[in-house]
Amino acid sequence: MPDVQFHFTEEQRQFRDVLRRFMAAVSPTTEVRRLMDDERGFDPAVWRRMADELGLAGLMVPERYGGSGFGLVEVGLAMEEMGRVLLCAPYLASGVLAANALCRIGSEAQKQRWLPGIASGETLAALAFAEPGGEPGVESIAMQAVALDGGYSLTGCKDYVVDGCNADLLLVAARTGAEGGLAGLSLFAVAGEAPGVSRRRLQALDPTRQLARLDFDGAPGELLGELGGAGPGLAQTLDVGAIALANEMAGGAQRLLEDTLEYIKLRMQFGRAVASFQAIKHRCAELLLQVELMKSAAYHAAQVADAHPEELAYEASLSKAAASEAYLHAATEAIQLHGGIGFTWDQDTQLWYKRAKSSEVLLGDPAWHRERMIQVLEQREFGSASAGAAA
């Protein structure tokens, strides 16, 4: 792929510098800890500054809808810097998943109606696709919508919805017929406060990411784009989300590595720095390698998503699987190398550990993504995935 870059441009590096300074200022861990107990789980003033000063809310929204029109490389950079500081904000939900879904699936009028608000950060949107206990991916979506009074009525449950309680606008995936798989899927816009919608904030393993369960009981929805035509766009949106998440995870892992190194270089045991023990040194070398490998996969996926959309699914699964294993490894090693203090509440490593653990399964666990990589390769080779490929 000749037009894939293996470096960031000067502009991108400057963008990263700006982001890093901003994030360090607005999201020290004291603030993260405060927001973990906050009802909304994020600071609206910070969100406003992110939107106004940095244009983050609409980073990948096309300029004609009020956004910055950047690609996934810039989104990846932003996510990476957010992951470094465990920023608590509805960026993944609204700025990446919902904005992308609207761009890919909505009609021109619908984009004009909703995207500017999302891009300005005034409208918070969330994408509701997963259902309780469902497999990752959109194929397992079962929720039904029925036509009613020129609109649609939605009934059922959506689970693990990122920032679902914070959203003004819910984009809800459902079926209107018996078709399975990618076919027959539609996306509906539902107001967060619509009648028939009840939302509950879930107790999350990672309290820095807001999750909600949404129960729909005849809630009114507006069909986005074509009836039954949302499947491919939804799948692509989740792939973009997975790549963005992989970049966020790379930022978190890099931070864990840096913090851990700093700690063990100072921490004395047996009259010498912990970092001077060869067994520790060798493990840190391996950890650096793992982190560099995950970064390469995440960066590459973002580059490819922009330049070669036909590679999106493969790259998304590759980078998400790589990131999941490496981030968890980094978090596990970080705790271990901190020793006893590492698993205490007051020490910050645990915050990243929880983010790593939850990111591992958000948008599909690594085994699911690995299986999917092979399905993509088989489809290329045979035109269909292997019959032997189980769930």
Binding site: A130, G133, G134, E135, P136, D159, Y160, L202, Q203, A204, L205, D206, L211, R213, R267, M268, Q269, F270, G271, R272, A273, F277, A279, I280, T332, I335, Q336, G339, G340, I341, G342, F343, T344, W345, D346, Q350, Y353, K354, K357, S358, E360, V361, L362, D365, A367, R370, E371, A390, A391
Partner: protein
């Protein structure tokens, strides 16, 4: 084992139990009888509440207790570590003062070795003990102390000489935990629970007669405590597991015993989760249908292989011990295995839970138990001696590999430390 001796001991204890066991006795009352008869700690010396029996004959006694469900002496917490240490190093006065109430369960004990500045490096303790001619004054901080908040007595390692080399400047004390200079604070962990305490000493006092062993020889006394601790850490309880639950358990004494356990175990609620809860994996995989996922199947099988092999390794070690074969540091091997088991179990639980692994508390699978596992397992390879320390021990003591070069010789004052000695 000498068969006649076995028969004779079995007959004797059986007769004694027949005469004395009363499932409706008071717990302390009953244990006092055990202490007086020597049947409560049959491997202890006859002069100190025991009968001087071998490990094998002690097992016979335990079998007889288990057969009829008779309650034994108190064993919870670190009581038996304290007892073993005092039996080996304590003065006669100390033995007199403490051993009986250890066995009856009237006193709770805690262990005050670890400090924030010296995690794996126990001998780097900075807590200071100063003698004014009559009494020791203690200042400093200890950490990872289970049961400190309800302990009557503590086993304390403190520095009494800053000019001696690290291991030679430590002394070992029994400290009264019920005094104003001792402050106990719970230490909250990443899983939200506080299983451990921090203990702060501000001019706390220790009587001169509560120095254990000689001045400056605290490290070798502590080694006795630690050796007994490691011996219990092989992932399995003592051989009694084989015979437990064999007997009827009806009587008021059991309520009292259960209450004692509940009090002692309360802060440790998360302990089984820390070990990964292998027992829940297969049932959850079967019940959820995730057993049909081929990746789950492979990892689950890996876990079962590892967990079973680890258990069998511990039993091999115990069998060798029972056969009188030389005992190695199996504790370290078992503890290292337990870390691997717990980590893999955490991985398998994650795979089985899928997206539900995102959730905790009442929203989480098994009412939050799975999240608790995922957030407790990281401690297993740290608490009670890190995996790194276990690997050092295994490499040096079992495999005979050379020791690490030392950087902490010379006067302790000059050794690089995390904090200045106050």
């Amino acid at each position: 084992m000498s068969a006649p001796a076995e028969v004779s001991v079995r007959d004797e204890v059986r007769a004694w139990l027949n005469d004395h066991w009363d499932p409706n006795a008071g717990l302390v009352e009953w244990r006092t009888k055990l202490v007086e008869s020597g049947w409560g700690a049959p491997d202890w010396p006859p002069e100190w509440h025991g009968r001087g029996l071998s490990a094998e004959l002690t097992r016979v006694v335990e079998q007889e207790f288990a057969r009829i469900g008779a309650v034994g002496v108190a064993t919870g917490g670190i009581r038996l570590l304290a007892a073993a240490t005092l039996l080996e190093h304590g003065s006669a006065a100390q033995k007199r003062q403490f051993l009986r109430r250890i066995l009856t369960g009237e006193d709770v004990w805690c262990q005050l070795f670890s400090e924030p500045g010296s995690g794996s490096d126990l001998a780097g303790a900075l807590t200071r003990a100063e003698f004014d001619g009559e009494c020791w004054t203690i200042n400093g901080q200890k950490v990872w102390t289970t049961s400190a908040h309800h302990a009557d007595w503590g086993l304390l390692l403190a520095r009494t000489d800053w000019d001696a080399p690290k291991h030679e400047g430590l002394s070992y004390f029994v400290i009264d935990m019920r005094q104003p200079g001792v402050e106990v604070q719970p230490l909250k962990q990443m899983n939200g629970y506080a299983s451990f305490n921090q203990v702060f000493f501000s001019d706390a006092e220790v009587q001169a007669e509560h120095l254990v062993g000689k001045l400056g020889q605290g490290w070798s006394v502590a080694m006795t405590t630690l050796a007994h601790e490691r011996r219990r850490a092989d992932g399995l309880r003592s051989g009694r597991a084989d015979v437990e639950d064999a007997a009827p358990r009806e009587g008021t004494i059991y309520d009292e015993e259960a209450q004692e356990s509940a009090t002692a175990l309360a802060p440790y609620k998360w302990y089984p989760q820390r070990a990964g809860r292998v027992d829940l994996t297969l049932p959850r995989a079967l019940a959820s249908g995730r057993i049909r996922n081929p990746a789950v199947r492979q990892e689950l099988a890996r876990l079962l292989i590892l967990a079973n092999s680890a258990e069998w390794t511990a039993r091999r070690a115990r069998a060798a011990q029972q056969q009188g074969q030389p005992q190695g540091p199996e504790g370290s091997l078992g503890k290292l295995a337990a870390s691997h088991v717990a980590r893999l179990a955490s991985r398998v639980h994650t795979m089985i839970a899928g997206a539900d692994a995102l959730l905790a508390g009442e929203d989480g699978p098994e009412n939050g138990l799975i999240a608790e596992i995922l957030l407790s397992v990281p401690a297993v390879s740290i608490a009670g001696g890190t995996d790194e320390i276990q690997r050092n021990i295994i490499a040096e003591r079992v495999l005979g590999m050379p020791k690490e070069p030392r950087f902490d010789r010379g006067p302790f004052r000059d050794v690089a430390q995390n904090r200045s000695p106050g």
